[in-house]
Symmetry: D2
Subunit: 154 residues, 4 copies
């Protein structure tokens, strides 16, 4: 039961990490929740489906056709970017991979809700020159999944 | 792939119909989407689970604990009643059973979107004394499911 | 402080009523809230502005350009039809004029919230052949405004 | 026409800046949009009202009573934190003062939409060690307002 909140344009290594994160989460029995679209979201779902995992895609638009082909249960919200709040609310932990401003909004919502966020090559946050310690850093897909599952169980 | 959008307080025969509708939809292979809470929503999910169906509950509050025990995939939206728009958007057809004003808002959203609505002891709508023909009436759970599946396929 | 929640396509007499309702509400010092678009919504805002009233338009799309020219404060929600829940929540009473399914969803949300709804040539609701008494009927713009203001003060 | 999206708990100098920003925006004829609650949001509204400005508060909860006393037009959304997307959408530019994770989500939504963000003692963002240049920094309330109004006009 973990969320992946990434962006559309993604580096090849981010896509590879995402696919591996999806596969490992599914193997561990977690439902994979995401924004349901392309790029990192599609890679995560592809990985999860390769291990017979359940994938839930919470879409910005009003119709299911924008879901990537590896989304099993699609929720077309019609809420636009406000749907980002719903993606993280459906999860006990969030793994953030890469990411543009949409991902940043999901990280912010998760941290605000007290949902743990594990980051893999993602945003670094600071205030007044002091780094914010909200995001737990991981160096690999394996470490990200292990940490997220640990934090989700707490 | 059909949605049931009913209310909290429900008559015993509405609950029985809801459970039977859930069971028949699951048997036909449809994902059962609903508001995820008690009453008719719980009866529908119980019926669907009895036939090993997949149940999706789109919740008004911010947390999964308010889902009934037969919801398999819960989406806690935190949107309050505005989540009613999402319940019907996730479906290709809607079966409305009984219902108070919350159900009426779901019927209205579905008809506005052009999603077919099959009604079982539910609201009757008119304007200027002329009945509105938007809701397709059914007399039994079997008829409601058959009609909804037919309309969903169009 | 009253809301008008109507539709796009409207009969000339509905537009005339809407403009008069807007004017009378503004004259009484009420803020006029609406969905911000054309048809009855535009007529209400035009009426309110003709009496120097404040008009608030809660828009479905993500940008202010879809507001009619008589909306003074626009809130572009980007929520699509889910914004209907917000229109009625911003008001102490609702006047419904004519209306298609979008208006019906607003009526449903208002009645669900316990916000009084005054209807002028709008939906008639029934269950099991018995009329629902939720909507208070009015025969003229004057009566609708007087009733809505009375109910809003309670 | 500028938005201020800050947090609840705020340092005294943040509150003083917020009040001054509100006053200067109102003096320049801009509508001040904010989240409508306490802390920096209340300070901004107090400042704007002191210069006879129009204040719009887009509230997370379902009812107007949570608005601070300086909000003139309140929109109770009932959407919870998802309303943050609406706060920035209603504006042509955003001034961010201080801020916790809620403010961070608003910054992210604004940058995603391409709405300019001026920051006063607020979040610093980086990826891969490289600072993100999305937020335009200001050192004083005067500079923040001048920059925001310039950017809003573009």
């Amino acid at each position: 039961v973990a969320v992946i909140g990434p962006a559309d344009a993604a580096a090849p290594e981010e896509l590879a990490s995402a696919q591996e994160v999806g596969r490992l989460l599914a193997k561990a029995g977690a439902v994979v929740v995401c924004g349901g679209r392309g790029g990192v979201m599609e890679a995560v779902c592809r990985g999860a489906r390769s291990a017979d995992g359940l994938t839930l895609g919470i879409l910005p638009g009003p119709d299911r056709s924008e879901a990537n082909p590896f989304v099993e249960v699609a929720v077309p919200t019609g809420l636009g970017e406000a749907r980002n709040a719903l993606v993280v609310r459906s999860a006990d932990a969030v793994v953030a991979i890469g990411g543009a401003y949409g991902t940043l909004s999901e990280i912010a919502f998760a941290l605000k809700d007290g949902t743990p966020v594990v980051g893999l090559r993602t945003w670094e946050l600071a205030r007044g020159g002091r780094p914010d310690t909200g995001i737990v850093r991981a160096e690999s897909a394996e470490e990200a999944v292990r940490t997220a599952l640990d934090l989700a169980r707490k």
